[in-house]
Amino acid sequence: MAGREEAKKLGLTDVEYDEILKVLGREPNYLELNLYSVMWSEHCSYKNSKPVLKRFPTQGPQVLQGPGENAGIVDIGDNLAVAMKVESHNHPSAIEPYQGAATGAGGMIRDIFTMGARPIALLNSLRFGSLDNKRAKFLFEGAVAGIGDYGNAMGIPTVGGEVYFDDSYKENPLVNAMCVGIIRHDKIVRGKAAGVGNSVMVVGAATGRDGMHGASFASGELSDDNQDQGSPMQVGDPFKEKQLMEACLELLQKEWVVGVQDMGAAGVVSSTCETAARAGNGIELDVALVHQREKDMKPHEIMISESQERMLVIVEKGHEDDVKRIFEKWDLEAVKIGTVTDDGMLRILENGKLVGEVPAVSLAEGAPAVKRESKRPAYMDELNIDLSKIPVPADLNKILAQLLDLPNIASKAMVYRQFDQTSGTDTVVKPGSNAAVLRIKGTKKGIAISIDGYGYYCYLDPYEGGKQVVAEAARNLVVSGAKPLALTDGLNFGNPEKPEVFYQFEKCVEGISEACRHLDIPVISGNVSFYNEGKDSAVYPTPIIGMVGALDDVNKYCTMKFKKEGDVVVLLGENTDELGGSVYLKEILDVVAGPAPRLDIDLEKRIQTCCLKAIELGLVSSAHDINQGGLAVALAESCIASNLGFVGEIETDLRPDTLLFGEGQSRIILSLPEENLSVLNKLAEEIGVQVSVLGFVKSGSLKILVKQKEQVIGIIDTPVESITEIWNNAIKWRVEK
């Protein structure tokens, strides 16, 4: 038997231990205690976050599978659907970035093909300390190579992502991966252990001691003593995963497959108790039957190991050999370890002898919810300083050059060149524009995918930041010509036991929910990662939004690059008097101060509706949203992408730096043939959106005259060639230095 002291060592609280006693009506033994310890960790149980996550809108006619399964699934018409999910691998990546990121991508991919969907695209969202820091550089390079090598070897293209550098992530980087798959409605498979008497099988890699307690590890802060968990680091095997994927996709065509579950965190125990709980059944299994890679493994080690590239498969009794035959073809093992029972118990045997027995549902869903205290952080009020005291810089050209040289704004080509972006031959818009666009072979359809997050706004104002990140992801899809359908989230926060961190978490979720409701974009899957802390402080609150949208005609996609000299360039939306929270203030003037830009969600919706309509009507040559770095950076990006330039005069009553570099939300830049302008104006008027002409596409340079009452109050005038050079090389030069 294992007592309270043992429980503490395994990270269980007193309340939790009491609950275990209540559920079992006796003391648990060491094996059982281990099961509860991993299943009731935050990573598996969501005990800190569940009540808050309930606020997300998760319904909609397009939703085929909402949160609660391995991945969410959304309908895209014609009997086709898209499966998607985001997941974090932050803590493993902090220790071994290459393998941490690689196995993160691997887990993500499994979640998708577990549903029966064929993975067609990967994306990632990365955060590291600034590149001046040697460790940050090491983590950055390792994580990028790890994600790349895994996805590339699998032949799944990486079509988008994002990278930010900020010292809040110096010790605890964020490595989130997203996978998207395609599936026919009638082929969706769920993770259910239905049908008493059916067989429970483990397929894929053999089980070793690697990654034991990984789930609990992800549920605590990084510190020197938990860096060595006594169990070996997981190493990814993309070759085995590829074979496993093909075998599973072949298997899942069979009508005698009952349920499938990925073995991610907490391996055998999580996959068995979750599938059993979903079906209201139990499972009896013998750990000795699990194929093992190491000698003398104990029952608890087998149950909680996180060895990669494994799956749990439940099939109708009598079809075990059919399963084996399929896996043999792909040079993989498949073994029966147990059967589905009707008593709701997870019963564990070792060579036929009973070694543990607990109610499956208590493991999967019984963790006592934790009500966390929430407190508005004091810094938020200190951030509201009077920005009008900041002098306007004389040389705005120089500021633009400095902004384009910031790794957070500069080209990420150095990163995405390391990813195979084109395997599968579906990538219509590759990384480097607003969102990725993929065609779907055999149809006219396309999908667009983006992944976005911006910790800085969420730090300044978690609620507005939460709204903003959903709006940005949707905007990225809309400017690509796609109608947003659903999202998956990756919520990365510090230690939820700190009331200020919990406040950030709650408010971000509220903001996200609010935006989802107004924009009609349900949340269909997601992931929470807490305890992202360095020695002194938490990371910026960093919710990541992965979003998918659909194009009825993929040929109508749109990109951000200017297309033709002479096209008129217009702004959809309004320039606002908001300098707070801008990259310009933070990085150039070193003022970390708010307020973050506000988001009027109704205006946002109208802007997006108008933009999408204009693209669908074929009025538009290019579209690009305004984001970090403001109007000037957005124009520069469209120039650089096209190797064309821009010339224009903008009349304003704002400060020139606010106009050029302020980050007011809900703004989109369009370029279009001049003859289409009147149609656009009419459309905008109907929808209730402001359109103003900024200038024209003209090759050579980027030239903006900022005017106030006919007076020139600011000038940007720079050859496109020179800003291209800066923007292309900012990251490369810093990494190679």
């Binding site: 090598d149 060149r417 972006q421």
Partner: protein, 237 residues
Amino acid sequence: MRCAVIKFAGTSGDGDCYHICKNILGQPTEYVFHKKTFAPQDFDLIILPGGASHGDYLRPGALAARSKVMNSILDAAKAQKCILGIGNGFQILLEAGLLPGAVLINKNLKFHCDDVFFRVENSDTPFTGLYKKGEVIRLNLACKYGNYYADSETIEQLKTKNKIILTYCDENGNPIKEANPVGSLENIAGIINSEGNILGLMPHPERCAEEILGNTDGLRIFKSILQYVEGGKVRGR
């Protein structure tokens, strides 16, 4: 033209090649699993697709080159069938000794995916008949081990016998070092065997063969083979 696309263990580019042959060229096309065999007369074109067979473990292509299906490929090679190796398929041909030389890791040790420029060095082959000699084309490159190497004697032979088919170049066709992202000798990106029926290419023509993907420069490789096979005429070697 009867096409075979080989499915090695872990290969991922098989579907892309199948799609081109079957749906774009409209030719009868079959997958051949690596544990199977076939007879030389079964197919006119045999494609060894890209994608990391066996996870690129040991050396890219090394383990796949020992698969059972290789025996059939050797027979087809002897029977003068057209054999096209793309990316990892090229590496498999090298490891199997069907083409001379080897690949090393890219000079910057990183995977490189981008559309880059190539010069067609020889248009007098079954694979390049529809290009002009010296023509500059753009193809997608996606590899970590594309750094072609052979000893100086082999390189000399490739050069004098016109067996170098594609080289990295700038947009004006200059074969400069800066235009070569992998570091291969002589900017080599594709070579053909001395009999002229086996081509190995580092870039992926099958990824650049449709309007919607923004580049169709690669399509003519497949159309050239089709013309050669259907025309039945042997063009000068």
